[in-house]
């Protein structure tokens, strides 16, 4: 709540229906007021307000299930539904979505889609983008737009649904989202192995990926551990465990932990996603490729160490991405330097940082190649700049740096 208070809005709005969202936005535009949308408030630090918003629109009262067809393996939920509630509801029907997030009790599904959240089981489960089949969002002028539908295959018109993923709310306020669902696997497990050095962990993780077997996750971490997940038929999971053990043994690893069963595995991935330095954590997400990620993360860590940080990182060997976290305390200048240097290394995005240092950071990395077109799109969907306080103004925040 401190974060929200610091934005000093003139008014809080907590609409309970999507129609109410539309009315609030239409009124705001008519009165020349700006609006910022907030879900669970987990990633507030990641946007830069051009100016303090006049209205904070909280989506947390938009938490109903719009439509759930368990037999169709589809669901439509309002944007403010908490991840924990959604997970529980789906688990009741033996289905799920890839929603391993840091704070499931706080995070909302709309926020996770707008943020483009990526979980540790991306290799096997993908991201929410892969499951999105439709949405309703409200444009800045209060007009509601429906995209997609409740069917699992759909090429009727432009795919505005997937464009919402990672849009940071810049196209409109997401009211509801439709997903196809994955079945809950019969069996799942997570194995953790320890190696002597982080470099060995990277090589071992790459060797597990090289088996080309369907692991749900393969990560190497800065503490020299390798984490490998497997899900599916019990015999398949058993085989994946055996293969992971064989590869890691060859690389001289020792097995540290084996989690099995839905609850323990969820808890393990939840712990995996936790911020290493609590609220002082700044996390850089580095996107590279499978063949380069080991080199890139080691270089990134070396850069961080050269600036006197003690970085903690994990590299998703199967997806070619990594997250590097540092304890930033008050050394804002060094974080700014670190961000600048890492931007020269790979595609970068900050996924966590204290609010106090946010104004000094670029946050979203180098301007993407299509930035000009993105700005044009933003201006079409928000011609008056009503979302000036939105957590993301595409392209704008990387200008001038």
């Amino acid at each position: 709540m401190d974060l929200i208070a610091s934005m000093q809005p003139s008014k809080d709005a907590r609409p309970a229906t999507i129609d109410e969202v539309a009315r609030i936005l239409a009124d705001a535009v008519a009165s020349g007021l700006s609006v910022t949308t907030i879900g669970g408030g987990c990633h507030l630090a990641l946007g830069r307000s051009v100016r303090a918003p006049n209205i904070i629109l909280h989506t947390t009262e938009l938490r109903d299930v719009v439509e759930h067809e368990p037999d169709d393996m589809t669901i439509s939920v309002e944007a403010g539904m908490r991840i924990a509630d959604l997970r529980e509801l789906l688990a009741h029907h033996r289905s799920r979505l890839p929603i391993d997030v840091e704070a499931p009790e706080r995070s909302t599904i709309g926020g996770m889609v707008a943020f483009g959240a990526v979980g540790p089981r991306r290799l096997g489960l993908g991201t929410l983008r892969d499951y999105l089949i439709g949405a309703r969002f409200v444009q800045a002028d209060g007009r509601m737009v429906k995209t997609g539908g409740m069917v699992v295959k759909n090429v009727s018109g432009y795919d505005l649904t997937r464009m919402l993923h990672g849009s940071m709310g810049a196209l409109g306020v997401i009211g509801s989202l439709n997903f196809k669902l994955a079945p809950m696997p019969a069996s799942q497990s997570v194995l953790t192995f320890a190696l002597a050095r982080a470099t060995d962990a990277l090589a071992t993780a790459a060797a597990i990926v090289d088996t080309r077997l369907p692991f749900s996750a393969v990560h190497a971490r800065s503490d020299g551990t390798v984490v490998a997940g497997g899900e599916g038929h019990a015999d398949d999971v058993k085989r994946l465990r055996a293969e992971a053990r064989a590869v890691t043994l060859w690389h001289g690893a020792t097995e540290r932990e084996c989690c099995e069963g839905e609850n323990d595995v969820n808890a393990a991935w939840h712990a995996f996603s936790a911020a290493p330095f609590d609220e002082r954590t700044t996390t850089f997400r580095i996107a590279s490729t499978q063949s380069k990620i080991a080199t890139d993360i080691e270089r990134a860590a070396a850069i961080a160490r050269s600036l006197c940080f003690e970085p903690v990182w994990s590299a998703d060997a199967g997806c070619g991405t990594a997250e590097l976290s540092v304890d930033c305390a008050d050394d804002c200048d060094d974080i700014v330097k670190l961000e600048r240097e890492l931007m020269g290394l790979a595609t970068l995005r900050i996924t966590r940082c204290p609010l106090s240092i946010r104004p000094h950071l670029v946050l979203h990395g180098r301007q993407p190649a299509g930035a000009q077109l993105m700005r044009l799109l933003k201006s079409q969907f928000d011609p008056t700049g009503a979302f000036a306080g939105a957590p993301f103004a595409v392209g704008a925040q990387s200008d001038g740096r």
């Binding site: 409740m150 069917v151 090429v155 018109g157 997937r162 464009m163 993923h165 077997l213 499978q290």
Partner: protein
């Protein structure tokens, strides 16, 4: 300099076709829609920079541009209602790079879908989207339509396998969409995929490659009625059994396939369900058994499991060859594409049968049952105008029925010319206006593939005339997938 001279300078004499016979070859599609006037030029560029030069020349002269792959589209997306220039990607057929370590390939849009998997399979990788036209359709065309295929049930459609796109914009600028993985900003590749060439001309595609699964099992379940088969599919989905493919063929389709190819489908049944399961060898037999047991519970009269690679291929060849087999059944056929929620499949198929009876048309169903994606194939003879009219009306009635059941008007073929007015069935004016905003940003001159996707707001009578004209066109081109 005339437009012809500019195009000649851009693509050279081998890349330009402007004689009437040559041009007319490119004026058709495997589609029902419209009668299009002759296009003015066909250009066959080989590189992005040649496409840039062509687009700039067209922009200077205010001439529309329509991109085209192999012409296997089924909705008129590559037809040229306003004439202009067709950019054929036929010569942009190089696989530019394959990075096995990074599980991706960079291809030109004219690469034939199946060629990519055939190139990468010896290295243990494949490209997952597999439309039935994959032996001839191009990856660029697949991107334009966000093509699906039988294995999309497990692997997702084209959009899930496009990692990045290089495109030429209407002003001749080159856009790299999703140039780096996970870059911040709007997902431009997502909106370009499936936009049928109305937003940008795609000249390079970065696609994801998947490791070839260790084991594959294929089975064929036979049912007395299509209703039993549909209920089995709904139960398989509801139980979360997640096979790789779940394809259905009704009696008429089975008869067509058997008489053409003799693949061994049972003729004494109402429907068959082709089931594929892939993954690790350890659990695969159990996983297949769970699916076939569900079929038996719902009335399967027999289940045949393929025990060899040859048998698997034989079972699949019937499904993949269905469209060709229909060519033996009637002079023409019209393939419809609509989707319903999977639990509504029994009602949807019942409605399709009622509609076919009502309009006195012969229909065979071959479809992606696991996705709820229907493909009624309506047989007809174009020389009978009354029958053509009934076919068009039946097709429209099927779309209405699917929308009434909570479905949509296209699952994988696209909107093009044929279905643009059907979008009004599922989208409001505000919904369509939001899409139009996107189009306005990408394609403000509206010279890229005009008249496609967005409703024409024509009257019903005009629409029928349009569709009837299109039927004639399809028959001349020969209807095939």
């Amino acid at each position: 300099m005339s437009l012809r001279d500019e195009l000649l300078a851009a693509v050279g004499p081998l890349g330009l076709i402007d004689d009437p016979g040559g041009r007319s070859t490119f004026a058709y599609e495997a589609a029902l829609p419209s009668h299009t006037p002759p296009l003015d030029f066909v250009v066959l560029p080989t590189t992005t920079s040649q496409v840039v030069d062509v687009v700039k020349a067209a922009a200077r002269n205010g001439v529309p541009i329509v991109p085209r792959g192999s012409g296997t589209g089924l909705c008129g997306g590559s037809l040229t209602p306003r004439g202009g220039i067709t950019i054929s990607t036929t010569r942009m057929n190089r696989i530019l790079r394959v990075d096995y370590a990074d599980r991706r390939a960079v291809v030109q849009p004219g690469v034939i879908n199946l060629d990519l998997s055939e190139t990468t399979r010896p290295h243990g990788f494949f490209y997952a989207p597999d439309p039935s036209s994959q032996r001839i359709s191009t990856i660029g065309g697949n991107v334009a339509c966000n093509a699906g295929g039988p294995h999309c049930l497990a692997y997702g459609t084209t959009t899930d396998h496009v990692l990045g796109l290089r495109c030429v914009m209407p002003d001749g600028g080159v856009l790299t969409a999703n140039s780096t993985p996970d870059e911040s900003g709007f997902d431009l590749a997502a909106v370009i995929t499936g936009s049928e060439g109305t937003l940008a001309i795609v000249t390079e595609i970065v696609v994801r490659l998947l490791p070839v699964p260790e084991a594959v099992r294929v089975a064929l379940a036979a049912f007395d009625t299509i209703d039993d088969a549909c209920r089995s599919v709904s139960a398989i989905v509801a139980r979360g059994l997640a096979p790789t493919a779940l394809e259905m063929m009704d009696h008429m389709a089975i008869v067509a396939v058997e008489s053409a190819f003799h693949v061994g489908y049972p003729l004494d049944c109402g429907a068959v369900l082709l089931i594929e399961v892939d993954g690790l060898a350890d659990g695969i037999d159990d996983r297949l058994a769970a699916v076939t047991a569900t079929c038996r519970e719902h009335g399967a009269t027999s289940v045949r499991e393929a025990s060899t690679q040859d048998e698997r291929e034989a079972l699949w060849s019937g499904r993949k060859g269905a469209a060709a087999a229909f060519g033996r059944m009637a002079p023409n056929f019209y393939i419809q594409d609509a989707v319903v929620p999977r639990s509504r499949l029994p009602q949807a198929l019942a409605r399709v049968t009622e509609i076919a009876d009502h309009y006195r048309v012969k229909n065979a169903n071959v479809f992606h049952a696991g996705d709820g994606n229907l493909h009624p194939n309506i047989m007809f003879d174009r020389r009978d105008p009354a029958e053509v009219r009934r076919v068009v009306e039946a097709g429209s009635a099927i779309l209405h029925a699917c929308v009434d059941l909570g479905g949509t008007v296209s699952g994988e073929h696209g909107i093009g010319l044929e279905k643009r007015d059907a979008l009004d069935l599922i989208f409001s004016a505000d919904d369509l206006a939001a899409m139009a905003k996107v189009k306005g940003c990408f394609n403000p001159s509206l010279l890229f593939n005009p008249d496609k996707i967005f409703p024409s707001n024509r009257r019903c009578g005009e629409l029928l005339a349009l569709a009837a004209g299109a039927a004639a066109l399809a028959s001349e081109a020969g209807a095939w997938i």
